[in-house]
Amino acid sequence: MLACRNGRLDSLTIRARAIDPVAGLEGPAKVTVEDGIVTAVESVSAAPEGLVLAPAFVDPHVHLRTPGREDEETIASGTEAAAAGGYCAIVAMPNTEPVVDTAAVLQSLVERAHEEAVVPTGFTAAISKGQRGEELTEMAELAAAGAIAFTDDGRPVVSAGLMRRALAYSAVADRPLALHCEEPSLSSGGQMHEGRISAELGLTGWPSVAESLMVARDLALAAYEGRPVHLQHLSATESVDAVRRARAAGVRVSAEASPHHLCTTDEVVRTLDANVKMNPPLRTEDDRRALVEGLLDGTIDCIATDHAPHARHEKDAPFEEAPFGVIGLETAFAALNTFLVRTGEVPLATILERMSAGPARALGLPVPRIAVGERANLVLLDLDSEWTVREDGFRSRSANSWLLGRTLTGAVVKTVADGRVVFAA
């Protein structure tokens, strides 16, 4: 269940190159929206240079820091950021203070989203009470209250026994589990990818195998219980390989990669800038290429920002003391366009599909489409626009971006979410 504040449904006409991989649409078009509904999609002879109209984006993995850390993000500021990033739906993680592990907390969030969310927002609930990995939450009641999925994101479900029970019981709630795969006895104390650069810097390593081992365990349990799983923020070659094999064997698995894992590597940690510290960590160029391969062949079917706002004074600390995570909603498309599309690594249509239909399907949300009769969920992009990422340029309450100071190519011009224009540059 997605929630946002009510507003006037808009009418508008957009002329651009329309790309909707799901609807099979590709070419110059004039799209008409009346009172929030797409009423006409007409082929035209030409469209303004560089302008692309696509189904708006869906982010399956966002931290809105509400309740508890409203200094870092609120539902209002986080959804403003999402609107500016071209999103028509986002899904918030439950690792807040308190954790979203009861229907009462979840309902209060849904109510607040109805009051302040600019973009339709869904909430996930924890798999285990307090995300302590001991007892299951009341999944059926939470699902009835609107939980999109269940996740202990931020930490793994350490006990294989509890994970098995969670998988089995999730059938009652009829919602997928979204899993943060990390074997803590291997990643404990880890600050960055374990390899050449961690050896050089002396930072404790967070090895790839700590992720891929848990991916393998969770896929084996999902296969055994016959339940779908959604794997969050994959970072390592071995994890992508494991997902590919499992899917070929019939396991229902969807998988995310984040723009930062797709676009950059652990080389940048040499700067010791806390804004390149994330969990899972940035890995090697080989891992980055494996993620891109996975994106191309569909093994990775979702791009998720893992938008993780942190207060400036907390990130402004020695690398080892700083918290994990970076924001990403407002830079996701531009980063992917700059580092993957313009370099020829990934076709634009693939990026657009993995940012919209892929995540929507993975979490059972409506798939945004450019089609007559559909509620308008559209993003207008300028592929050639250059802009520089600046600390004071975010709608998010936090500015912990790995891209500060970088010049990116590609910008969101307009976002239409659920029939309303929620962002216009």
């Binding site: 600050q191 050089e200 002396g202 600390a317």
Partner: protein, 317 residues
Amino acid sequence: MTERNRRHLLGVGDLTRDDVERILDTARGLERSLDRELKKLPTLRGRLVVNLFYESSTRTLSSFELAAKRLSADTMVLRASGSSVDKGESLRDTALTLAAYDPDVIVIRHPHIGAPHLVAGATAAHVVNAGDGKHQHPTQALLDLYTIREALGRLDGVSVAIVGDVLHSRVARSLVEALVLVGADAVLVAPPTLLPRGIEALGCSVSHSIETIADADVVYVLRMQAERMEAAYVPSLREYTALYGVTPGRVRPGQVVMHPGPMNRGVEIDPRVADSDASLVTTQVRSGLVVRMAVLYDLLTAPGLPSAVAASVLEVA
């Protein structure tokens, strides 16, 4: 110190080979001054050197203190205990507070990697890293190079075996980088669990056998900390000593032995080795003083002075 990081010594990576040679030559000139009856030089009179120590340290702190005093600088020590650090003040705020005194140099030791870099970005002072976590300890590497060069007469082609807990050692990391920089060979000798994965990328080789040290000119012994046993890096100190302890039978005549201190006698180094003529341990302490004097001098005078000019400046001083 390279153009980009000219004003700081945060890691060995900030240094070129020329920088190293200039600093070591300056140190040699300064060592001669220590033979005088009146050991104090007026060179840095009126300068302020702040020692900001977030970890307990005896030898490094006293070495920096004395180095600054021998050059007539004013010095201040801020320790993690008994200061606002204990009241939860952030490192940046502490740095900004210190900056109000306009220090010329901040020497910082911190348990966390990147702390000196943060201070360097927050203040106008020259920052010297006196050890950040497991990352870097560049003045230790410089004093070790100085010690080796004084003992063997050269650095190029010298072979150094570094024995012990490389994984947790900023000393090992800095020293390997410095040895590679000056054309020496480094081999790391340790059990596989105490070697960081991928460390060969620094340009060293690795071995799991103590026999390897026979080929080296210098045997450099690292401190083995008892708390490593708790995390199961090695099964016991007893087994570690049996396999990797540097004993008289394992040191061949003509080799020199070094240790950054403090030593665990009977664990990583046999007392008979520590006290033998082959041991350069006390020489290292003396080298530490003159090398740190040279680093302070180098940072606070025009960088890139040819060593002959530097030496004459010192003579005048």
